[in-house]
């Protein structure tokens, strides 16, 4: 028993903390890029001209439709055929961002479509250009409505960041896998790994709830029974 504790203290935790750091470095930029891409693509999918809209639709269909592992394999193992070499870390961030962006674009699209047409007429009648109207009237409301969905996507992202180890980017899960294979203490190691993820998703959930609360409009969208 003490031997087990000692092993965890001296071997498992340092390695997992190292992996945890890598995971965070994967998750933060991916979430940020994912949200940015999602917002831009969502807007284009609703307000873009014909060809632009179709291109954005194809992007969303592709990146939502192909399993993320396959996408990562393509970025990491496939691109070298075109003489493009990405580090495991870069390939992972690229894969996560594009996949997350595709999902987010769907939430943003739904939110944009839910804004009442009347407000757009009102903005137009005041002399707003289309771009200004989207930026000042539509997006601020749509972002609030997309937030629960996009927040959900961030939670997913935290968990699917574990796929990075498939392209040799050794993050939390990767470190866990190595430790477990070496010691055969699968249960202990992966329980701890699980706790790390649970911690990240809980904190993210807490922050997202705070943000949502902060952006709440008095008297609006508060029809809670």
């Amino acid at each position: 028993m003490t031997e087990g504790l000692l092993y965890i203290q001296s071997e498992v935790l340092p390695a997992l903390f190292r992996g945890f750091g890598v995971s965070l470095r994967l998750i933060f930029p991916s979430a940020l890029f994912g949200l940015t891409i999602g917002m831009a693509v969502g807007v284009l999918r609703v307000y873009g001209s014909g060809p632009v809209r179709r291109t954005a639709d194809v992007y969303a269909a592709l990146f939502r439709g192909i399993p993320l592992v396959i996408q990562l394999f393509i970025w990491y193992f496939g691109l070298p055929y075109f003489n493009i070499y990405l580090s495991p870390f870069a390939a992972s961030v690229l894969g996560f961002s594009l996949c997350s962006g595709a999902y987010n674009s769907e939430y943003v699209r739904g939110a944009l479509l839910s804004i009442k047409r009347g407000q757009m007429l009102a903005a137009e009648s005041l002399g707003f250009s289309r771009l200004r109207m989207i930026a000042a009237i539509i997006l601020p409301q749509a972002v609030r409505r997309a937030l629960p969905g996009c927040g959900n996507e961030v939670i997913y992202l935290i968990k699917y960041s574990s796929l990075a180890y498939m392209v040799t980017c050794i993050e939390l899960t990767g470190e866990g896998k190595i430790l477990a294979s070496n010691s055969f203490r699968f249960t202990e190691v992966f329980l701890i790994v699980g706790v790390f993820y649970l911690l990240m998703t809980s904190i993210a959930g807490f922050i997202l709830a705070r943000v949502e609360n902060h952006l709440r409009i008095p008297g609006f969208e508060q029809q809670r029974l």
């Binding site: 009347g118 407000q119 009102a122 009648s125 005041l126 009237i137 409009i217």
Partner: protein, 252 residues
């Protein structure tokens, strides 16, 4: 004779097979209050929407101060729309902004006026429509009458030359109609040029410079309130007016 401030010529609009407007023309002089009446589906709302090109007419022209508007020139269109305020049946306030910001945003984002100056103007307009105490409330915290007054303040802040009002009180509880009518009446006495669609006969007859009865996308008959309500030429006009008088009463 002064030339009309707004001249609308032969506006037509069809949705698929349905002709909603069939060549409607109207001249509006400065300070006029033209009231559009007619059954729903007559084309009143489409007509108002076509005047500032929120709905693109298939045919026809609009001239403001003698200058023809070319809606395909975006810059010209945006400038024109600032001069033509629009009030909607269901207010269409911006839900994420409070009353003050609703009025200010057009000034800052469209006219490019600094926040401070725009804020002062917004406050002034809200005071004018009697909403000084509600300046920081969000649309969802305001009554229908208050919302409509905010939307009037929002339009007025842009210094329009003409106001288009599309049944501004028909979504309101009867007891809230008066406060909105008072604001519109006030505008009229201050010389604002307006075209308004409404079913409020009493209000219309006390203020209108001309009543225009529309049906099936056409102007059937037009004239002074007295003529239209008491001595209309067309039987259809008489029939409609008597029905609507029963419904909405004499007083405005």
């Amino acid at each position: 004779m002064t030339s009309p401030i707004l001249r609308i010529e032969n506006l037509s609009k069809r949705y698929g097979q349905r002709e909603v407007l069939r060549g409607v023309s109207l001249e509006v002089d400065k300070g006029d209050l033209k009231i559009l009446i007619g059954p729903s589906g007559a084309g009143k709302s489409t007509f108002l929407h076509c005047i500032n090109f929120l709905v693109k007419p298939d045919q026809g022209l609009v001239r403001l101060d003698g200058r023809e508007i070319h809606p395909e020139h975006k810059r010209e269109l945006y400038a024109y729309r600032q001069k033509v305020g629009m009030i909607f049946q269901d207010f269409n306030l911006f839900d994420h902004l409070n009353a003050f910001e609703n009025v200010r945003i057009g000034l800052t984002k469209v006219k490019g006026i600094g926040k401070e100056e725009a804020g002062a103007r917004a406050r002034l307009e809200l005071e004018r429509v009697g909403l000084k105490e509600h300046i920081n409330k969000y649309p969802a915290q305001l009554s229908g009458g208050q919302k409509q007054r905010v939307s009037i303040a929002r339009a007025l802040a842009m210094d329009p030359e003409v106001m288009l009002l599309d049944e501004p009180t028909s979504a309101l509880d009867p007891e809230l109609i008066g406060e909105v009518h008072a604001v519109i009446r006030d505008l009229g006495t201050n010389g604002m040029t307006m075209i308004m669609a409404t079913h409020q006969i009493g209000f219309a007859s006390s203020l209108a410079s001309e009543i225009i009865f529309m049906e099936d996308g056409l102007i059937v008959e037009r004239g002074t309130p007295d003529k239209i309500f008491n001595d209309a030429e067309h039987s259809r006009t008489r029939e409609f007016c008597s029905k609507i008088t029963d419904l909405y009463g004499e007083r405005g």
